[in-house]
Amino acid sequence: MADSLAGLDTFPKLLAHHAKARGALPALREKSLGIWQTWSWKRFADEARAFACGLAAAGFKRGDHLAIVGDNRPRLYAAMCAAQCLGGIPVPMYQDAAAAEMAFPIQNAGVEFALAEDQEQVDKLLEILPQCPALKRIYYDDPRGMRHYKQPQLAPYDTLLEQGRAALARDPALLETEIAKGSGSDTAAMFFTSGTTGNPKGVVLTHHALIDRAAAAAELEGLSDRDIVIAYLPPAWIGQNIFSYAQSFVTGYCICCPESAETVMTDMREIGPTYYFAPPRVLEALLTQVSIRMEDAGAIKRGLYRYFMALAQRVGGAILDGRPVGAADRLLYRLGDLLVYGPLRNVLGMSRVRVAYTAGEAIGPDLFKFYRSIGINLKQLYGSTETSVFVCIQPNGQVRADTVGPAVKGVELKFTPQRELLIRSPGLFKEYYKNPQATLEAKDPEGWFHTGDAGYLDQEGHLKIIDRVKDVGTLADGTLFAPKYLENKLKFFPYVKEAVMFGHGRDRVCAFVNIDMEAVGSWAEKRNLPYSGYTDLASRDEVFELVRECVEKVNADLAAEPELAGSQISRFLILHKELDADDGELTRTRKVRRGAIGDKYRELVEALHDGRQVVHVETQVRYEDGRTGLTSADLKLRDAKIFSPAGAKKAA
């Protein structure tokens, strides 16, 4: 960053600064009618100020909340800053939420003013109006389909903007005192976190918290006003908001809003972002697309792809990290870059990406390595809404698939005896809105935030998250047992669809495995292995061998981790039926319900732990039409090799 941001402690002050320092540079771009339209910083500031004056005239006061419902749109971002100019608090809300889900945040925050992107969002707000009597003004950005709406609460964004412009023309200094009144300790925004149980909680973040964290990460990555970001995830999610608002305000980089959710891939290719964020599921979907298209390619192309991807797997990561690689490999990689990696990055829209992050859930090592091997600097970070995102980031050259990196400047980490991660950082949230009970539970008097995540720091000070604290257990001898961590490790193999670990309070870890019917099925077909269905395939000795290899690879990995070497998987079985939400074995979002499965298959768990080789089971299954039936099978139980920490070095 070239300019000093001293004294600029709120977002409106930062915006005023950019309008002066880089007024002509692009702040926002939006593809509209097929053409990228640019908003300069000056235009952005003018729009935000005019809208703020309009809001003020409509009665919006310091401390009021402005609900913003919609996708990434320049005018919605301008409104966000407009509310902040007046000392108000923008509350971005998920555009795909159902009307009923919107009622709680609006009631909770006592929202009187709302800005909706389009007719769809307006309809939802009107629907919940009876439950939210405080909501008195609803503005909308896109007037399409709105002209028959006669509700007195409604007004177009443009009207308010015009009123604001007129007021500003009469008194150009109208807003200055309001902006000057703001300070870093004021609330900047409120984000509702989707609680898995109960009502969502409004996380209150101050200007100081957001700006401090945005700046710390920007400094680490050397972000500048030359960077470009594409904003394609919901702005109500802190992850998108920090990349497309807070960090842009800190560094002055440009945000690009795609035309629609379906055009993101094309728009990204056109824009060529330099700074990119994607949760693992997006990266996975992109890779799948590439793989499918490669299967359809001609033989020469497929051959080239296979050869150079193998090379990239071997040396690509090392080259990106600046580790030594033989001259011949280096030269070959250069050729591969010309023929395969470069074009591939281009298709993905990642040709210019300098820094890419992934976070949100565990990422499979193969997926992670794929992107790094073709020269995309994909890294992991750790954070949450309560911490203004940036807690840990992997610095360049220290990137690994299984950690989330060391603490970012300003963050302190410590662990409870139960291994729960506690965080103290300038980026911490102020409170949960109107929920002192929850605030007290999450944030102790000394200012430590209790994350609920269990983890530890490895030898190099990198944070490793293993599981939720409530799920972490111990084996009988006190060894740490993190079931989800083990399950994830096993599930990263394409042949394994689901895995369930049992070991809490026992002397060893045992696993249930569901094979992936598609992957194992095609594996079997290639080997001319006939099978009649899932149960048949799952009982094949060859398949057991296949799964055993996966389990043993996991064990070899675990042996290299001193904290977890004791919890290697000693025995496993392949379940005779696929785990199913209809049978109460998975949640509706397809997470395994370990407790329920343990109860239902108690006999199998016992058999695994007491060392039997075969066990006969009968299970009731529920068909989709509600009828029930019985499946029975003789299940084989198998041992897997356990590696001693010393032996692991060789195996790995």
Binding site: L33, G34, R144, G145, H148, S260, T266
Partner: protein, 263 residues
């Protein structure tokens, strides 16, 4: 249809005593009805009732042996497709008549063809006026692309699109002509439920937003009853009913035609 942007106005198109025969086959016998400005008018009837023939007569593809068509105050005995297009009647086709190898954008731009004034040479040279004109046309087309939500497929060859989307492109091309009257030949044929719902919404939006008068043929009775203001019912080339969906539904002649009755 309680609220609409443009209240139903005067008669814009009337068909008066039209009879059409192919050799000995009488496709239409003395059919008369009128279409008012800004309304959604449906033509329904069993297979072979003469619906498509009726549309083709209005459109100028077939020339009736008897009867006249009055459009915007002008009386025609028969019309020529090029003339009708110039006069402001656009149509879509039951079996899609898009250029499969051309992109969505190019297909829709062909709908602007009638309104292009610059000559071939100017266009080839991309000379000033031609370039300006092209930008105007492109802008118009982009508004339609935005309106019908087909942005993700601008550059995709039409032949690679699913059927429901091709229908939408067909509609977009017809809209690009900025017609006063839009003839839709089974806009929902072969669509799944979701595509049908989308298409209904687009038809109503077009009617509401651009004020385009719409004449459509449709088999799906649910759709017809939901979106049309008035319905003409044909059977064996004769008009057997005309009125609001409610009236038509109650008419014994219509029920007989649809359910079959012993003659």
């Amino acid at each position: 249809m309680s609220q609409r942007g443009n209240p139903i106005g005067e008669v814009i198109l009337s068909v008066e005593g039209v009879s059409l025969a192919f050799g000995g086959v009488r496709a239409l016998t003395d059919v008369s009805f009128e279409v008012r400005e800004h309304e959604v008018r449906a033509i329904i009837g069993p297979n072979g009732a003469g619906k498509s023939s009726m549309l083709n007569v209005i459109n100028g593809v077939y020339h009736p042996q008897q009867g006249t068509i009055r459009f915007l105050g002008q009386t025609y005995h028969d019309m020529d497709p090029h003339e009708t297009a110039l006069a402001g009647i656009a149509r879509t086709f039951q079996n899609l008549a898009l250029f499969k190898g051309m992109s969505v954008l190019e297909n829709i731009l062909t709908g602007r063809n009638l309104r292009m004034r610059a000559n071939l040479l100017l266009q080839a040279l991309r000379a000033g006026p031609a370039l300006r004109e092209e930008i105007e046309h492109r802008e118009r087309v982009e508004h339609i692309i935005d309106f019908l939500e087909i942005q993700p497929w601008r550059k995709t060859p039409v032949g690679r699109l699913p059927y429901g989307l091709q229908k939408r492109v067909d509609l977009a091309r017809a809209l690009a002509m900025e017609p006063r009257v839009l003839l839709l030949d089974e806009p929902m044929a072969g669509m799944n439920l979701e595509e049908k719902q989308d298409m209904c919404r687009f038809i109503l939006d077009v009617n509401d937003h651009f004020g385009t008068t719409i004449v459509l043929i449709e088999h799906d009775m649910g759709v017809v009853m939901d979106i049309s203001d008035r319905v003409v019912v044909l059977d064996y080339g004769k008009k057997i009913g005309d009125g609001t969906p409610h009236e038509v539904r109650a008419s014994q002649a219509v029920i007989d035609a649809y359910l079959g009755v012993s003659h």
